[in-house]
Symmetry: C2
């Protein structure tokens, strides 16, 4: 009995049109990564289990896809684990490899393993899929691509400036306008918690603050209170929820608020330098906004943090994010290496471009010239002409069978092929072809010898 | 204690230089795939276990990487399987997904699942990694890329002709000369077995024949005898081991040999048409050779079969192969769909290009212009100039710290950066930059306003 085929939930097949659109985004990002001096690396799809476990919290550990050992993998498992049906204890005994969960940990592993070959500063980019056993839902998949650019080595703030310019360059190339790049600094968040007397609740404080645009001021206050932050502390923090005005004004308010904290001052000084430099250099399609409520995953960021919102009017969370971390490679034994990086959210950018109709019209154009097939003799005569077009780099094809003309033209239409060439019995006798412009409906006859004239018009 | 990091055996990290070289091959192949009218699809890295199992033989089933189910996966396992430590029986109970083993079965699954969206003829290409739990050895990896192009729908031999042209176009673009494309036909192999009276031993007969260039005539005879083929049959087949001369002569000998077999005649007729058409159209870097000893995996091929040998003088098995199959999608319930495809062996092509020194010199050039960093003030002045270069699409970078000039120049050298720009204290005062040509050792001063002149020289 034949199987009715399906694919695992949370995964996707990509059709030619979808691949073309995804590659358009990948190519745009990759091109700017390279213009900005980043170099590509690639790491294996699976890593040793112990490389990944314990790096993403308990939840992360659960969401990592583990690969079953090959062969008689139960051979050395202890009987008790099996008797007790203890899956958690069994896993490390029957699995020693796991699929990549993100690109950051493999990158850290790469830097440490290859430290003698790498010339610091190392600007690397990596565009590869990652896998997570998350519950699939709209816009969340079990296999998806990450596009990361990181600089390791130098701690200069010019890196942050360049990464903001890089975001701007990519979104400008994609034709996205009014994209907001929100920026904050980990030291500012620490200083706020310190100043309001909640530094022991730094994490719940920032987690709650991060939700301001989702649950509103009242919601944040309720969540902070629930996590044990005192009423006095919350009251003290409240003015920060509604900082407005331009960058300088916002930083002024903040500076005033954090005047007792040296840490806070350092964070503000960093943001001042970054915003002032970007102010001088200018951005084309993005605007930079200091957002004191931006927290992001606090696990490894230690300096500036970024998050990019979709253009105004498009409902679609963040389309990118990143930040500076001071000890990425420490987990693998290489201390004191600072890094800063950004990431692009491919799937969301795809949806935004689709919603705004920003994919170029030609992106789906897979074949430029289709020769109609009128039978063996005509087809054989067409082959050398098609060869000429292909040598000139023009995507060309011969319809593979002598199906009815109407069917062949319909195929050309469906595939959005702009030119169809007719080489039938009459043309064969006269050594000519008729070129049909499918958009205009016009047609023109060329002598075989004059095919280069047609090629020039493409 | 920090972990000493490593990667699973049989997998690889790719450095920037390696990624650049691999991408050069991928881009060349992809470009010709598209020029020949093929469209890209992508399928998920893992498929449902039952989609893959039973498609590659017992050995294949063992080599498929299975993914452990998430959560409390032992919950519903029957106790007896656990008591008996029966790994083979346990696997389907704790794993429902597996990593792609090749691109052919997922493609068949794709065609069947999307048959209503696909416009036949469907020319698809797919360039994605596959995974096999093979014993790693030199040149054999557990994760590697396949690059496949297939046409499904039409049974016209023009497809075979086009695929040979496509091989030729790719190898010509890569600068590979004297590549041999060997061709045979499944019907010829069947007919030989029939004519010598060994049609019941077709598979051992062809498996032995396939080894002629490895184990020689005597070895083949010994292997055939060992698999139960009669001495009379072997003696009858012997003239075929040493067919020589050009295509027409070879096909003549074969035709004479198989004159009693209708199947054989059909195979010979097909090869005659393909070789005659290719003869007329001509090839640039490959030669086509009928090779009656070529067998390839016989599992699903039913028509023409191809195999590409590395250029003369390079010791490196085949760098590509393919053929026609008549019932690819039958396993998933869609009958009578004929297809023909070819595949490129990325890793071996890489080694061949490396051995022959055929990678373009510029392939590793990651940054074209590096600005030396003389300190904050000079660096800030450099940023807008770097911005100008980047806007013009030139890969440019600022060294991220004001390290010693010597160190910065060494970095530029190591990264093979052709131009270094100096913007120090003097240049800052005079609004100039000094551009150093690293290959020639010469340098030239430009006014900031005249930077476009420099850009034009790149």
């Amino acid at each position: 009995m034949a199987q009715k085929p399906s694919i695992p939930k949370g995964t996707r097949d990509f059709s030619p049109a979808e691949v073309a659109k995804r590659n358009y985004i990948f190519d745009t990002i990759r091109n700017q990564f390279e213009i900005y001096g980043f170099q590509p690396i690639e790491t294996p799809s699976f890593e040793n289990l112990e490389t990944l476990m314990g790096k993403y919290g308990d939840e992360g550990d659960r969401l990592i896809f583990k690969i079953l050992n090959s062969g008689d993998y139960l051979n050395k498992v202890d009987d008790r684990t099996l008797e007790e049906k203890d899956a958690a204890a069994l896993t490390p005994q029957i699995s020693e490899k796991a699929l990549r969960y993100d690109l950051t940990v493999p990158f850290a592993r790469y830097v440490v393993m290859h430290q003698n070959e790498i010339d610091l500063p190392f600007k690397r980019y990596q565009i590869q899929p990652v896998w997570r056993a998350d519950r699939p839902q709209k816009g969340r998949f079990r296999e998806f691509y990450q596009c990361d650019a990181d600089v390791v080595g130098p701690s200069s703030l010019l890196q942050e400036v360049e990464l903001i310019q890089l975001y701007d360059a990519v979104f400008a190339d994609l034709g996205l306008e009014k994209v907001t790049i929100k920026i904050n600094h980990r030291k500012i968040l620490s200083a706020i918690a310190e100043v309001i007397g909640a530094h022991e609740q730094l994490i719940p404080f920032t987690v709650a603050l991060d939700k301001l645009d989702k649950i509103g001021e009242e919601g944040v206050i309720r969540e902070m209170a629930a996590s044990g932050i005192s009423e006095a502390a919350i009251r003290k923090a409240m003015p920060l929820f509604s900082i407005s005005g331009d960058q300088d004004q916002a930083l002024g308010v903040l500076s005033d608020f954090l005047k007792e904290s040296k840490t806070g001052e350092e964070g503000i000084e960093a943001l001042r330098m970054i915003t002032a430099t970007i102010g001088k250099l200018g951005l084309s399609s993005c605007r930079l906004q200091v957002d004191v409520t931006l927290a992001r995953g606090l696990n490894y960021y230690t300096g500036a943090i970024f998050e990019v919102s979709a253009p105004e009017g498009v409902q679609m969370g963040s389309i990118g994010g990143g930040g500076r971390y001071d000890d990425l490679t420490g987990i693998f034994g290489l201390k004191d290496l600072s890094g800063v990086g950004i990431s692009f959210g491919l799937d969301r950018i795809y949806l935004v471009l689709e919603e705004l109709g920003l994919f170029p019209e030609t992106v789906e154009e897979s074949v430029q010239v289709l020769f109609v097939n009128f039978g063996e003799k005509e087809a054989l005569a067409a082959l050398p002409l098609i060869g000429e077009l292909r040598k000139a780099g023009i995507k060309s094809d011969l319809y593979p069978t002598d199906a009815k003309l109407q069917k062949q033209l319909k195929y050309a239409n469906n595939r959005k092929i702009p030119y169809v060439v007719l080489l039938g019995k009459d043309e064969l006798e006269q050594n000519t072809v008729v070129v049909k412009d499918m958009a205009k409906g016009s047609q023109k006859t060329y002598d075989w010898k004059h095919l280069p004239e047609f090629i020039k018009t493409l």
